[in-house]
């Protein structure tokens, strides 16, 4: 027993030493701050977006939404046990997918527009073919031992999932089997995002860390710390060189991948509610962050200032998303409505 403990202590010491070295290496390249670099950039003043559409149809809390690649269709998931696929322009509901389990927490649209996936407390990621006459279950991906918090398609044949069992997983949809399991987090994985070049992805978890993974190697390449509570939301900056995280500690942070460190924190003493979701406008200049205080606040990503707010929901904003063409932003809430703003 004593020998085991001694070995563990030695390993722990080595680990801590490595972490200290990493911090030192990060400090060594830290020769500038965002405020310095963005000093010459003109401020944006106050941004006011108008409500353009109010999509009514769900009967219970909306937990997740995802835009289709065509920037016009969108899928939303609610704990009334349904996925609804909307034509956001007309406001029509195109398809309703009834779910086996109403406790859904995540939904995703495949880039092809043929498939949608959802999952939640049932620990299963179910993939549906929505182009069939009536929505058909294509696959039930059942291997996680914890709830499904997030899922994203790479293509019609591959999907990534994040789970409360602390792992993320890449699945092969042809066989329905796990291709790669990404283990390194020590807390529930809450959210994931795919890089623009699809070679890597990032995950945020309840251990307050954000991690970058290589899809090919199946390993964690970088770890980012700094948050003091669960990371609920994560997104890539458009050029793929930075990530934005949103956390229960009421702040959002930007981490730069190339210099391997935190760049700026978006927080405000008047904001005392956790962040549930993040999305960026197409230039990356605006960050839309959904909070528990029923609002979606708008941040200037370069100046670090809060420059606007989207108010109108009667309950927590649970999900936000900007379509590929950047025409606006959609917020979904526990008040069962989806709102489109620009």
């Amino acid at each position: 027993m004593a020998a085991e403990k001694a070995e563990m202590d030695k390993l722990k010491k080595e680990c801590d030493a490595l972490r200290t070295q990493i911090e030192a290496a990060r400090k060594a390249v830290n020769d500038g701050s965002m405020s310095a670099s963005a000093g010459g950039v003109a401020g944006l003043g106050r941004i006011q977006l108008k409500l353009r559409k109010n999509l009514k149809g769900h009967l219970a809390k909306i937990y997740a939404m995802h835009w289709s690649a065509d920037s016009r269709q969108m899928v939303s998931a609610s704990q009334d046990g349904k996925l609804l696929i909307w034509d956001t322009f007309t406001g029509n509901k195109l398809v309703a997918v009834p779910l086996k389990s109403a406790w859904v927490m995540s939904v995703a649209f495949a880039p092809s527009g043929n498939l949608v996936a959802s999952g939640g407390l049932d620990n299963i990621c179910t993939v549906y073919n929505i182009k069939a006459a009536s929505p058909k279950t294509l696959r039930e991906l059942d291997a996680h031992t914890g709830y499904l918090s997030c899922c994203r398609f790479l293509s019609d044949t591959e999907i990534l999932t994040a789970s409360g069992d602390t792992t993320c997983c890449l699945w092969d949809l042809e066989t329905g089997k796990q291709k790669t399991v990404f283990t390194n987090h020590i807390g529930d994985c809450m959210s994931l995002a795919l890089s623009p070049d699809m070679n890597t992805f990032i995950s945020g978890a309840c251990d307050s860390l954000a991690k970058l993974w290589d899809l090919r190697e199946g390993a964690c390449k970088q770890t980012f710390s700094g948050h003091t509570s669960d990371i609920n939301a994560i997104a890539f900056f458009q050029n793929g060189h930075a990530i934005i995280t949103g956390s229960d500690d009421c702040s959002c942070k930007m981490y730069d991948l190339r210099s391997d460190q935190e760049v700026i924190t978006y927080q405000d003493p008047s904001l005392n509610a956790g962040v549930t979701s993040v999305a960026l406008s197409n230039s990356g200049r605006l960050i839309f962050a959904g909070y528990d205080d029923f609002n979606c606040h708008i941040w200037d990503s370069l100046k670090g200032e809060k420059i606007g707010v989207l108010s109108g929901h009667d309950n927590r904003v649970s999900c936000t998303g900007v379509p590929n063409d950047g025409m606006g932003v959609c917020t979904g809430s526990w008040d069962s409505f989806l709102k489109l703003w620009n």
Partner: protein
């Protein structure tokens, strides 16, 4: 009064931050000088003091916060739904009616945040009182809950009944008006904290995320975990790090470059479909169009990835490469993408195809890869998998990026495309001629106040136009 939870590291996170704000508003409404004018309401033969109508509430909110009618209605409605104001006429309908319906302020004793969460014991006493007062006054769902509570806290049931009787006795001593008021307040409180089945439960905090972090950590930290951690850390330590200043400049540049291409910031031509209800923009920017828009062609020059990810851009680039007799590079790259993201079952035959077409000696469309990469790839082909072509693909990608791509941007083909690219005409919304700044987001009402002093009439009309357009697009 706030509802807070102690998070990790001992800081307080407000669960329902809005409650503090709502309390501030209701306190301001009751201010003796600047607050609302109270009236007496007649309820049959009893006179209830300190009441106000729904219309009063809305007017006061409009005046105090300088907001429009719709927003005031929404705000007032929230105050009712969260129990800070309750209706006198139809107590079970927790909605703000913008008319002569009477409302009263909830006493701080019964504020949602004061006693949260509502206790089972208190609920039992409340139901007991109702039961004793008028036999059978309990609604069906209340009867059900009453019997459930009876079973669950049976050990304190004597206390419950005794308390109920005591409270009823005390209330009989009060004046009728006070008694009615207290009953209304208590009823309103319980309608929020124990809503009838089917009613929206505004206090629902959702699935409690089990805070397993603290319990999991000790379990995981055995020597295996540390060994893996060390490996991960070593790998992370060895990575190349770029100077912060360079990276940050990159973000600033990107953001500036794409600002014109960001519809939320700069608007979009001919118009944003969500605003104008005109799908022209989507039609003009479809995957394949005879003439692309100027912004789209401009984006091709921002980065090689932009060019390749646009099907039209890729097509144009292919045409250019064909002229230069190097189209096999792009074909090879596309074939590799297909292997990387395509079906597992077809990998074998796809890799075989790619080898025959692009890599074999004397192949029809032979690509120029350095010998080291070629050897590695040929070795990998023996056991094909999704990423077997990665190195070769990367080599060809950089070849195109460094060589062909810059020359393409300087070529006549690209320049002509840019010249004949379409700059759509901005469609004017003909309805309200004074609603300028079509492409941009509307100005903040706070700013409108400053301008109002200059030109009251114009702003009023513009404000109404704004309201109308919002109402018009609601589904």
């Amino acid at each position: 009064m706030t509802i807070s939870t102690v998070g990790k590291g001992d800081w307080h996170r407000e669960q329902m931050a809005c409650f503090r704000k709502m309390e501030k508003v209701t306190v301001a409404m009751q201010d003796p000088d600047m607050g609302m004018k109270m009236r007496n309401q007649r309820l049959l033969i009893t006179v209830i003091p300190h009441a106000m109508t729904g219309r009063d509430i809305i007017d006061w909110l409009i005046q105090k916060y300088n907001i429009c009618d719709e927003e005031a209605l929404h705000l007032g409605d929230m105050l009712v739904r969260y129990g800070y104001i309750y209706p006198l006429k139809e107590p079970r309908c927790l909605v703000l009616q913008p008319d002569e319906c009477p409302y009263r302020f909830q006493t701080p004793y019964f504020w949602t945040s004061t006693r949260w969460p509502a206790s089972e014991l208190d609920y039992a006493i409340y139901l007991a009182k109702k039961n004793i007062r008028k036999q059978g006054e309990l609604m069906d769902y209340e009867k059900e809950r009453y019997s459930v509570l009876n079973k669950r806290i049976n050990h304190t049931w004597d206390f419950v009944v005794m308390q109920a009787r005591e409270q009823l006795r005390a209330s009989k001593q009060r004046r009728k008006a006070d008694r009615i008021v207290l009953e209304c307040q208590e009823q309103a409180y319980w309608l929020i904290n124990r809503p009838p089945p089917g009613a929206h439960n505004v206090l629902d905090m959702g699935l409690e995320r089990p805070n397993t972090f603290s319990s999991r950590v000790p379990l995981n930290q055995n020597s295996d975990y540390y060994k893996k951690e060390i490996e991960t850390c070593r790998r992370a330590l060895g990575r190349n790090r770029v100077k912060s200043s360079i990276c940050l400049e990159g973000f600033v540049k990107y953001s500036e470059q794409y600002q014109n291409h960001d519809p939320i910031m700069q608007g979009c031509l001919p118009s944003n479909p969500w605003i104008s209800d005109d799908t022209a923009h989507w039609t003009m920017n479809a995957q394949v169009v005879p003439t692309p828009t100027r912004l789209r062609v401009e984006r091709w020059s921002f980065s090689f990835m932009e060019l390749l990810s646009d099907p039209m851009g890729r097509q144009e680039f292919m045409t250019y490469l064909e002229k230069e007799f190097s189209a096999e590079n792009l074909c090879f790259w596309q074939a590799c993408e297909d292997i990387k993201h395509g079906e597992n079952s077809k990998i074998g035959e796809k890799v075989e195809d790619v080898y025959k077409t692009f890599l074999a000696p004397g192949a029809v469309r032979w690509v120029n890869i350095d010998s080291k990469t070629m050897d590695k790839t040929l070795e990998g082909i023996k056991e094909p998998h999704h990423f077997v072509m990665d190195d070769a693909q990367m080599h060809i990608y950089f070849l195109m990026k460094k060589d062909s791509y810059p020359r393409y941007l300087k070529s006549d083909l690209y320049k002509n495309m840019l010249a004949k690219a379409v700059v759509p005409q901005e469609t004017k919304k003909s309805v309200f001629p004074f609603m300028r700044r079509q492409r941009h987001s509307s100005p903040s009402p706070a700013q409108a106040v400053a301008v109002a002093t200059e030109d009251d009439g114009r702003i009023k009309q513009a404000g109404q136009a704004g309201t109308n357009s919002v109402a018009g697009s609601q589904v």
